[in-house]
């Protein structure tokens, strides 16, 4: 019961309270780039969720079971980035083989997940939050992906309607998206303090 409680709290905290996009500013580039249409946003969110769960769990294992044991923390960043690059390569091959239409619509953004700060950021936060167990790390990584998907889908929904709005010329595109994100993050601040 206690473990379940911790896992549930961890999940909720990373999805709502410590949402990577709105409170940690991670993954802003795909957030601005792919949030134009809701189906693409959802696909991107799913790809990120998969990669982040995989690499979050893997890097936690490498960090705790190999690097810390051997005192090789200095090479942490290099190891993390290698794991992430490998995971992205795997996802890319899988999507190209089984979902060619999705692959075409992703275009450049799929390989760019490697340089998506949300993923490396989460791996580093797992280390910073001092997560104790493998299960907790896996659940939080998954939660981070869900949080990202949620944020990017909300944004895509808003932007589809924004197309019909009368936005001043100079604010069209990225500026208005950022301002909208600001208002959204204001809403997400309401969750702060719900649990620690």
């Amino acid at each position: 019961m206690d473990t379940l409680n911790i896992l549930l709290m961890g999940f909720i905290s990373v999805v709502l309270i410590n949402n990577l996009v709105f409170t940690k500013f991670l993954g802003i580039c795909p957030y601005l780039g792919v949030s134009g249409r809701i189906d693409m946003a959802f696909g991107m969110g799913m790809a990120v969720t998969f990669v982040v769960t995989l690499s979050g769990t893997l890097t936690w294992m490498i960090d705790n079971w190999i690097l810390m044991k051997l005192g090789l923390e200095v090479t942490r960043y290099v190891c993390f980035i290698l794991v992430i690059a490998g995971a992205v390569q795997l996802v890319e091959m899988y999507v190209r083989k089984f979902f060619p239409s999705l692959y075409d619509s992703f275009g450049i953004f799929l390989p760019l997940i490697t340089t998506n700060c949300a993923i490396l950021g989460l791996c580093l936060f797992l280390n910073l939050w001092m997560i104790e167990s493998l299960l907790d790390a896996a659940v939080r990584s998954f939660g981070a992906g869900i949080g990202f998907t949620m944020a990017i889908c909300i944004m895509a929904g808003i932007r589809e309607n924004l197309n019909m709005a009368d936005v001043p010329d100079c604010l069209k595109g990225a500026p208005i998206t950022l301002i909208t994100a600001g208002l959204l993050s204001l809403a997400f601040m309401g969750f702060a303090g719900m649990i620690r």
């Binding site: 960043y77 290698l82 690059a85 340089t115 700060c117 100079c170 604010l171 601040m189």
Partner: protein, 211 residues
Amino acid sequence: MSNSSDARPALYSQTLLAGLWRENPILRLLLGMCPTLAVTAAVKPAFTMGCCVIFVLLCSNIIVSLMRNLLKPHLRILMFTLTIATFVTIADLFLKAFQPEMSETLGPYVPLIIVNCIIICRAEACASKNGLIVSIIDAFGMGVGFTVTLCVLASVRELLATGAIFEIQILALAKEGGWFVKWAAMGMPVGAFLTLGLMLGLVNLVTGKKA
């Protein structure tokens, strides 16, 4: 690009200016948004961050430029990332040793320089195609452009959030007999998104660019 000797200085100054304004990484190319939003709550961390980025950008551009003829196309990105990760580790350890407080404030955003799109973009677009000198100038221009933009954004936010710039009080606070009431939202994520959005809008207005 011409090979004549008198075209060289022109090319150099053009490369330098491109980074500062015409292709300013944040305002024009929309690259490296994450650290831009995250570290600009005050000028001091923003400035430190800018310096780290300049250091990493310079070193990685130099290395990439030197090994550009040895690179295999499909291993290119991997090599870039590893080079960058190495220098970021150096910068991170340096900060931890000599600026422990600042390292604490910046937290994971220093290692996140690895995935900062500016650096990999410059390695790909400039250093892997050009000689050493052009790469160094390009790195310098881009880095300074990034730092200046970061500092401007941070000054606006710090001024509105605390009435101070670089921790020097500028506006008189209401509770000390002045008129200024702290605008706490500016120091939070909301302020970051709003300020950057309005700044981009302003730049578009000035340059007359239509999205």
